[in-house]
């Protein structure tokens, strides 16, 4: 145990002190913060540019109806000016030229001419203005012709939008609000995090074993400690490196968030919020109605209604078990091969289930009760990712227990098998290793 501790400490310090580790660990939050800042910056500064659109209205229906909106201004022009602009738009003060034909009622089409690539937002804005006007106009005509007094109001009342709130009944019959959207995001994110860390740190264990074998220090080390102690120290030490990295990221993440909020004064943050709301409003007026205080509360309530303790427990459990399973297998691969090139062809068969499970993540999150989801979350090699993708939706207790039991069993088995391959492989040089050879090693005594 003492030896394992020494190895663990050495592995940990060696990695944490590495320049590449420090740089990566410090850089990632700043990259994210930078990305975040860029998004904020763009959303604020995006539409500050004033654009004036020249409107030639052949139909004479819209005169004075085009209100300026945000930074976009509308200016009506006559036929002469229109023809002039059509030739020389580039030199003029106008951004674009809107042509509304005589027969817009029948054709439902108009033209927007510009020498630039027009932003999507602008074309949408104009389309909306035109459609709304014509729609209102048509409706007014219908109302007038029908002679029904308050038809206008009645028609307005027919506008309907249904919101589906999803409720979940727990086993005890308690009803809580749930959101499949939030569960979907949570399951996808957690599956991905597990995949990412298991892969990254498992590979780190493998490289560490390979380095010792390649530099030939391994013989001195295993004449001092048991291979199993060495393996344990390596795996735990590397896991601690991972946890350190995550901890630093969380701290730095919170710190940069505070800084970002400080740099962009509350005013700008509010402005940003408004501009986002505006965009939403423009894109989908119906959605904007829902985007009120109430909905935020609802989202928070729904997050609260996810079974957070269970999710957290599952996350920690599957993370640890998955990491142990794959890092011990990858450690054995590192011991079995001589060179980086040889390791490539051994790594793929070992990590294939992990890659498969990340590919299954989307179908699982979409249909968490289906057979794919069920089997992927029960079979131990895919269950660390797959089960986590199911847990936010709620899962029958027996399935969870079965999956956990099988995973523990497999992990213990894998550690024993890996330890065996490790022992034999460490001192085996110049031999091309394949699966058949590895199975032979498993049968060796000591």
């Amino acid at each position: 145990m003492n030896n394992t501790l020494l190895i663990l400490k050495n592995e940990y310090l060696k990695r944490v002190k590495k320049k590449s580790f420090i740089i990566l660990t410090l850089l990632v939050p700043f990259l994210f913060a930078g990305m975040f800042a860029l998004i904020i910056f763009l959303s604020i500064h995006n539409d500050k540019k004033e654009r004036t659109i020249a409107v030639f209205d052949e139909s004479s229906l819209f005169l004075g109806e085009f209100e300026d909106e945000g930074y976009t201004k509308y200016h009506f022009v006559e036929n002469e000016k229109y023809l002039e602009l059509k030739k020389g738009l580039k030199e003029s003060e106008f951004y674009a030229l809107l042509y509304i034909p005589q027969n817009i009622y029948s054709t439902n089409s108009a033209q927007l001419v510009s020498d630039k690539q027009l932003p999507f937002e602008l074309t949408e804005q104009i389309e909306r203005k035109l459609s709304r006007f014509i729609e209102n106009d048509k409706r007014q005509k219908v109302v007038d012709e029908s002679g029904i007094p308050d038809l206008d109001e009645q028609l307005a009342n027919t506008k309907t939008r249904i919101r589906l709130s999803t409720l979940k009944i727990s086993e005890s019959g308690e009803i809580t609000k749930s959101s499949s959207m939030i569960a979907f995001i949570a399951s996808y994110a957690m599956g991905f995090i597990i995949y990412f860390f298991v892969f990254m740190y498992g590979a780190m264990v493998m490289r560490s074993v390979m380095e010792e074998k390649k530099s030939r220090i391994i013989e001195v080390i295993i004449s001092s400690v048991k291979p199993s102690e060495l393996m344990a120290g390596k795996i735990i030490g590397t896991a601690l490196v991972g946890l350190t990295q995550v901890a630093i990221w969380i701290v730095l993440g919170i710190a940069t968030l505070v800084v970002v909020q400080g740099v962009f004064s509350p005013e700008t943050t509010q402005q940003m919020g408004q501009s986002i709301m505006e965009t939403q409003q423009q894109m989908n007026p119906a959605m904007a109605q829902a985007a009120d205080q109430n909905q935020i509360m609802e989202v928070l309530e729904m997050i609260g209604n996810l079974n957070l303790p269970l999710i957290l427990f599952a996350f920690v459990f599957y993370f640890l078990a998955g990491y142990l399973l794959y890092s011990s297998l990858l450690g054995a691969v590192g011991a079995a091969v001589d060179s980086e090139e040889d390791s490539q062809q051994m790594v793929l068969p070992v990590t294939f289930p992990l890659i498969l499970s990340i590919m299954l993540l989307f179908p699982i999150a979409k249909n968490p009760e289906g057979p794919v989801a069920f089997w992927a979350s029960i079979i131990p090699f895919t269950s660390p990712v797959a089960m986590l993708a199911r847990v936010p939706y709620g899962i029958p207790t027996w399935e969870l227990l079965l999956s956990m039991f099988l995973l523990v069993l497999t992990t213990v088995g894998a550690i024993f098998a890996a330890a065996k391959i490790y022992r034999v492989g460490l001192l085996m040089y110049g031999k091309k290793v394949n699966i058949k050879e590895l199975i032979k090693w498993l049968r060796y005594k000591n």
Partner: protein, 307 residues
Amino acid sequence: MELFEAKNIDKVFAATQALTDVSISVKEQSIFGLLGPNGAGKTTLIRIINQITAPDRGEVFLNGKKLIRADISKIGYLPEERGLYKKMKIGEQAIYLAQLKGLSRQEATRNLKQWFEKFEIMPWWNKKVEELSKGMQQKVQFITTVVHKPKLLIFDEPFSGFDPINTNLIKQEILQLRDDGATVIFSTHNMASVEELCDNIALINKSVKIEYGATDDIREKYKSNIYKIIYRGEFEKMNHALGNKFKVIDHSESGKENHIKVQYLNGNSNNELLQSIMPISEIIAFEEVIPSMNDVFIKAVEESNKQ
């Protein structure tokens, strides 16, 4: 007293027989040479002593008790294929390796500093291994092998990679360690160093122990009645005088002092030889040729391969 004993060791790797019923015992405070051609099984035996692999059959004893895991700190091992962590600093690395052998951090640092001073390599303490030459790394490795003052030292090819000056330095250190109480087992292909250092040897060929005993006794055993004479005179006359009574094996003439080697045939005696040549030459020296370890090695292995 025997410090180390291996009894009836068998070891098979898949299809290869690595060791067949090999037994050796090593006296306390002696130097034991483990000899044999490449692939004979020396390294396997050494790994069994270090508990890196277990024998299929047979037992290993240290100080009369069965070797157990905890004895690891009483053994120092310098493998043939050496290496250190390339990116780690020398001092830090040496401390880590010493700690794995059971020393406390303070103890390790203190002992290491003494050794570094002795080898005059203190300036390397904070350098990374990749900055050192191969010979320098070997020195560091030697130190990490002996720093925990083991009772039993095992060196696999300790002189490979050293220049003659450093080879001599390491030889002196090995002798000093022996005088200070350590017992040494070492494997080498450098037969001159065996003659110089080893009290006893075992010669292994194709997994079997074929020679075993005190170095001097074994050399004595391989004598083949060959005598060397240094004389002043003519070779033709000598050849004629020795004629059919003896077998002339080798001769060289430099003008002043000529050499001739003869082998006795059955029943010859020294006096007979001297009587035959005294009338025709002036004898400067006359001695029996004792085979070098090199000759013993070649002869023993060739004979065993014939069987």
